[in-house]
Symmetry: C2
Subunit: 228 residues, 2 copies
Amino acid sequence: VAQTTHVSKVYKLAAAEVVALDEVNIVVNEGDFLALMGPSGSGKSTLLHLIAGIDRPSSGTCSVLNFNLGTMSESELAKWRNQYVGFVFQSFNLVPVLSALENVELPLLLTGLSSSKRKAQAKTALELVGLADRMDHTPRQLSGGQQQRIAIARAIATDPQLILCDEPTGNLDSVSADAVLEIFHTLNTQLGKTIIMVTHDPHAARAAKEVRYLEKGKLLPAGEKPKD
Amino acid sequence: VAQTTHVSKVYKLAAAEVVALDEVNIVVNEGDFLALMGPSGSGKSTLLHLIAGIDRPSSGTCSVLNFNLGTMSESELAKWRNQYVGFVFQSFNLVPVLSALENVELPLLLTGLSSSKRKAQAKTALELVGLADRMDHTPRQLSGGQQQRIAIARAIATDPQLILCDEPTGNLDSVSADAVLEIFHTLNTQLGKTIIMVTHDPHAARAAKEVRYLEKGKLLPAGEKPKD
Ligand SMILES: Nc1ncnc2c1ncn2[C@@H]1O[C@H](COP(=O)(O)OP(=O)(O)OP(=O)(O)O)[C@@H](O)[C@H]1O
Ligand SMILES: Nc1ncnc2c1ncn2[C@@H]1O[C@H](COP(=O)(O)OP(=O)(O)OP(=O)(O)O)[C@@H](O)[C@H]1O
Ligand SMILES: [Mg+2]
Ligand SMILES: [Mg+2]
């Protein structure tokens, strides 16, 4: 379902080069639930963005859901993402001028559903994360953990095949975190969704089926952890 | 050092009222290291912002470092904060167009130090959080956990008497988190700084001397936890 081959990402700055990812080969199969862990700055968000086509590698190929992302234009990638992928950003990326409900509805706008069907589907997603009573609040009128849960609701509202989430429980107390992990578990085991979850939280990682580690841009072999 | 008396915060929205804080009476003494915990949306960030004078209560008084915040103007509060308080925001609030070093230097601009002394002090703070090699990166060129650590460096660069931090380890792996908690421990036990840390992470809470819980805007008595 998601495969990167010899993928590297190098940022060239004025004074130096930063190798964010170094020859990463990863294979994720349909129905997998993978937790991606590793030290701060080790390249996790970068890898997730490449798999979503939000960013392009400096070298190597990304093949996701049988699409070769490198051959697609920006607008083709945006359409593809809207149809198949749900993405939860590390910094949420909510639209400040829209309400929680409108934010969750956003990806549904391109689906051809009627307005009432869209609102109903968005409300269901909000109920799943326990925020139906906050649907008219704008992001500024929500707590950090509530914003995070809106971002999660938005990512699942279109019922995507592939869910990519970057630190989805970082701002949540254990009760809210467990509720979110329960949703992911159901989406994965009962609806066959593929999930790649970047996390620092060992408790969240335990909800996944498999854990892989990045260290300084390199993907460690299965079963290996970074040296402390 | 920080005392709120009968403090409430009510948000009035078009359709309803949200009671974010309800009659909170808290006393924090000099040299305390308090962890403030509670469910998502329970009012933790709101209380921290009131103690910092970044927001004003709907009723009640906030007395911090012997200043009655309610009697001070916005500019007086800004000056006071710059001199006495270090604040780490839940969403970091870094300036996008400035480098990491310039972001950390920002609170030092009003201290009357020379430019070379400011840069040296900012660099020391960056070294403490392990990011001296990223000082020329802008926030966009940093990982989530690196941005969080820049926000922490900025909060301690002026050597403030009171440190208020909102989820300071939420985006950090355990090694980076422990390094940050170690800094707080040193600031508290060796330099006598008072620290109020909002956190969802029980591991971070263990670094504090005391833990208090908020639930639905109410401060629970010492030793009491929210019902699950
Ligand atoms: N400007 C606002 N208008 C209306 N309601 C608001 C506003 N800001 C915050 N709230 C509400 O106030 C409550 C408390 O918010 P606060 O940010 O203090 O929670 P928190 O304990 O920090 O949560 P988290 O752990 O998720 O960060 C939340 O229910 C939130 O929806
Ligand atoms: N635009 C950029 N220019 C230069 N360097 C960058 C840029 N974006 C990211 N980096 C660097 O690439 C590295 C990997 O970043 P990435 O965001 O993938 O890390 P991460 O594993 O997600 O970290 P965290 O756990 O802190 O979120 C970091 O060292 C960061 O400084
Ligand atoms: Mg990241
Ligand atoms: Mg908060």
